[in-house]
Symmetry: C2
Subunit: 581 residues, 2 copies
């Protein structure tokens, strides 16, 4: 090795030893007769000292070294006179005897510090420099640790990691596939997997009753901030289980990760049905770090000649504790917030419950003080609080109030990155009706089993059917979801029919799975976690990109390697494809 120690390990026990370090020049300071260099590697920083009086030639050489030069240094470990308790190696420094420049560096285009002066685009172009920053290193260390701990936990439970293929078959249901032209099979294409769903089900049919895989998945979607064209899943499946077994098993995994990675004991995860979540929080992934649950006000506010409420399908409020003194400006900001097209409300009604006990609302002329008090009571408001009310069509109103609730949570500092509130959401609907295409879509995916007692509804009222499906939500982010699967060919076929697949389509795309169901498919179910998201939540981060070594930008480009890019005419020719002019 070109070093005897790392830059993170020297301490008082090493004082007097001659050691060798290698790393990058983080910064250097000339202080009269002394030159100090901070030498950095993955493990930490060690202060190097060069002394003009002891070796002026060496010191002069050291003064020529620039930021990010790669050095190999030899010297004696000494106790510092000015100890730095903030650094792991802050008790000591190295009195350098000699050094070698292993490589020089141009001045980096941004500072290699946690708080860097580089914008995102520049940092992505020079991602290999960006990744030198401590914040990014910690993110990748966290990711590595989560991977190791997940694997060992599942291995202990006799789960087998089984690799499934990446070159599979295009199945246009769901998101768009990335496809790969086959040179050896003229005019045909592979697809990259959106998930190993069908393969893990086949593994259950094959008898591998506990499967997992940490696996890359691909979706050719228009990208949003928290989406990447390739992302990583912790993909799991079990046979001979009920939903309860799966929730227990993977709550076990999640609690293990909370314990060993974050040192947090979460206790048992609460559970909530989809209907409850929608009613109380307006979405299927409520952030439980704070309250502000929805209170439905139809009974109280209708029939008082306030047309907006009278015409509304739902009138629903939340109570923002301690906000009764919100200024006109603050209330206007909230109104503007809910009127943004992304939120989509038409207006906001508020009710101040002043500390002196008086109630004042933006709809005073329609409601008596008793009415207002009834609203306040229903919303659980106390003197000093502010009730915020939206009204309109149920689904849109819930969704808008959900956004407002989260906004208030942010404004009030109630969404702390260091606090964790996991939640199981269960009893999802099986289907969603899409007005535009006038057909049903599977809320989860077409392999999800209905709740058994709802199966008769398949012929009569599919939209009322509940799925044997569940999501794991942490702090308002869905980090995993799964279901008990269908393992009966006839039921699977019927599902495809309800979803608008012709017999030919379902047989072309999923015939192999339905055939497999005829040869002794066991009852089975599973779950898949978004590994990027899980890591991001655990790291207290905002964007999954910060937890991916080489992410792509919003156009799906890797700006560092400049990809995608044109390929040679010969390559196209071999693949028997042409570009459309």
């Amino acid at each position: 090795m070109l070093r005897t120690h790392t830059c993170g390990e020297l301490n008082m026990a090493h004082v007097g030893q001659i050691v060798n370090l290698a790393g990058w020049l983080q910064r250097s300071r000339d202080m009269g007769g002394l030159t100090f260099i901070d030498l950095r590697d993955r493990y930490g920083i060690t202060q190097l000292v060069f002394n003009m009086e002891i070796n002026s030639a060496l010191c002069m050489e050291a003064r020529k070294l620039g930021r990010e030069f790669v050095l190999s240094v030899t010297g004696k470990v000494a106790e510092r006179s000015n100890k730095n308790p903030k650094m792991a190696t802050g008790d000591v420094e190295m009195l350098v005897d000699s050094f070698t420049v292993l490589n020089v560096s141009k001045t980096p285009p941004f500072t290699i510090e946690d708080n860097t002066d580089g914008g995102e685009e520049l940092r992505m172009k020079y991602r290999y420099l960006d990744l030198r920053r401590g914040v990014n290193r910690k993110n990748l260390e966290l990711r590595h640790k989560l991977g190791i701990e997940t694997r060992n936990y599942l291995n202990e439970l006799k789960f087998m990691e089984i690799e499934t293929p990446y070159l599979i078959k295009s199945t246009p249901e769901g998101a768009r596939d990335f496809v790969v032209p086959s040179r050896m099979n003229n005019g045909q294409f592979y697809a990259l997997p959106q998930s190993p769903q069908t393969f893990k089900q086949l593994l259950m049919v094959a008898g591998y009753d506990r499967y997992f895989q940490i696996v890359r998945c691909f979706r050719d979607e228009d990208l949003r901030a928290d989406r990447q064209p390739e992302f990583t899943q912790i993909d799991c499946e079990m046979a001979f289980v009920t939903q309860e077994d799966i929730l227990q098993t993977f709550e076990g995994l999640a609690r293990h990760l909370f314990r060993v990675v974050l040192n947090i004991e979460t206790g048992e995860f609460p559970r909530m049905s989809y209907d409850q979540a929608m009613k109380l929080y307006g979405c299927d992934k409520p952030d439980l770090r704070f309250g502000m649950v929805f209170s439905e006000l139809n009974d109280i506010v209708k029939g008082k000649d306030f047309k907006v409420f009278d015409d509304a399908e739902l009138i629903v409020g939340i109570n923002a504790a301690g906000c009764s003194e919100y200024s006109r400006k603050q209330l206007d900001e909230l109104t503007d917030f809910v009127k943004r097209p992304q939120v989509g409300a038409t207006g906001l009604v508020y009710l101040r419950y002043a500390t002196d006990g008086t109630l004042k609302s933006s709809v005073d002329k329609f409601y008596s003080p008793e009415d207002l008090r009834a609203i306040a009571t229903k919303c659980g408001a106390l003197p000093g609080d502010l009730v915020l009310i939206l009204a309109g069509r149920t689904d849109k109103t819930r969704s808008a109030l959900c956004d407002l609730r989260l906004e208030m949570g942010n404004r009030l500092g109630l969404r702390k990155a260091s606090e964790f509130k996991p939640l199981w959401v269960t009893d999802f609907p099986l289907f969603e009706w899409d007005e535009e295409t006038r057909r049903f879509y599977a809320k989860h995916h077409p392999f999800t089993s209905p709740v058994p007692e709802d199966i008769p509804l398949l012929d009569t009222n599919p939209v009322a059917m509940r799925a044997n499906a569940y999501d794991l939500v942490i702090n308002g982010t869905e980090i995993g979801g799964g279901s008990i699967r269908i393992h009966n060919k006839d039921l699977q076929k019927k599902m495809f029919t309800v979803l608008g697949f012709s017999d030919e389509d379902s047989s072309n795309q999923f015939g192999f799975l339905m055939n497999a169901f005829e040869y002794g498919a066991p009852p089975h179910g599973g779950i898949a976690f978004g590994f990027d998201r899980w890591t991001t939540i655990f790291g207290g981060g905002e964007s999954i990109r910060d937890y991916i070594a080489f992410p792509k930008n919003n156009s799906g480009r890797d700006v560092m390697i400049d990809s995608p890019s044109a390929i040679k005419e010969e390559q196209l020719k071999e693949l028997n494809i042409r570009l459309t002019p």
Copy 2:
């Protein structure tokens, strides 16, 4: 769970307990008043007993069950009168009280037994049934265990697993890329990685001095028996190391895997230079499970008027101990073997050293008994042995004799699947000259560092340069290879020039790497292991396909899911590509 125990765990300690099992009906036997069913799951087989006298209705129902039906059974564990010491559960059986058919099965198209009656094509089409066979289950269990042990060993050594992208950039050097059209970037393509080579080097530049990843790689090559279009690598890289550090570190990994997976202490791995390996075994991946090293005979056999030898660049023999009594037929077979186009020799000369001490050869008329004795001595032959000699151009002759040596090893049973002989091969040549394209190719890849003292030869005699490269060979199979990399931009640029890259090409394809080298790239090197091959060797198997859950056939097809396949016109349109008519 739909079971209290697995089919592999019941023993005398459970006798008297009421338990619940779930699994597949492996076979059933009606014996007068009793019906026996072997119930199978991933963990083993348990014998179920149904008794006509005790419950005739249940027994009659059981007699209707077919092979591969999925059952849930409840009953009492009892000691067997006829114990079966070959089965883990052979001391006990279950007296069944009740059962449920969880799913029925059509009669499988082949028997679910280690020795099945299904041909490969049929088994691949029904791979989910093939994978139920114990042999395949053991292969995937071995693979899982190797993965877990590899990760934990490297994690202990502070290696970080870092995921690199799958959607990267096409670099036509080396094998052919699979490409992925980008919908969002019109006319442009991603490529699937042939290996994460450049990314792991960038991670070294980024300071992550110990990286690994168990990662899928892709090569669009015409397939051979032991090649797959997608395969898995254990990919590793380290910074601040010498070649010796890498050999030590990964010999450590390999010895760990031998120890914990196969319970074998290998001792230190021998090392051999490329030149030695070629001279003594005729190839760069010698199988050291047996001797038969090459003996070069030019000094002895030339100048005796035997034109074939006089004209040959190399005359080289091996000694097959104990084969002096080979029949005419056997010798003809060997001659036919070496004349096969894949082997390519023009003939075979033999020398029998009879047990009575007499020597007899196929070229007796050219050589005196003293000559023959000298040949025998040089080859280390003793009475009872057979010397086999080939002659011709050095490279072709070595290659042919290498094949003959392996063939003799097979015939003599010297290549035992249960014996393991690892070997490091070092000092590979840096370049290969290709007559056809009249240019140099990198023997390893263009990022491989020359042995430092050979760098001056870059301008004068590239073909004489040695690489700082190494392979790990086990039993004649290369299971891994790597090198110390170039970390200097100028040297890297020069390498690309010698390899015939224009400045534009090298900058287009690898500009990001050469730029990175300007910002403090540390000395680094690494290795990548073929995970499929390693598993196959450890499993004592022949084909990597048997160790891959869902392999492709020689046309790159997955015959189970019937992929690749045609995609919809809409998909092509969105991607702005057309099929060439």
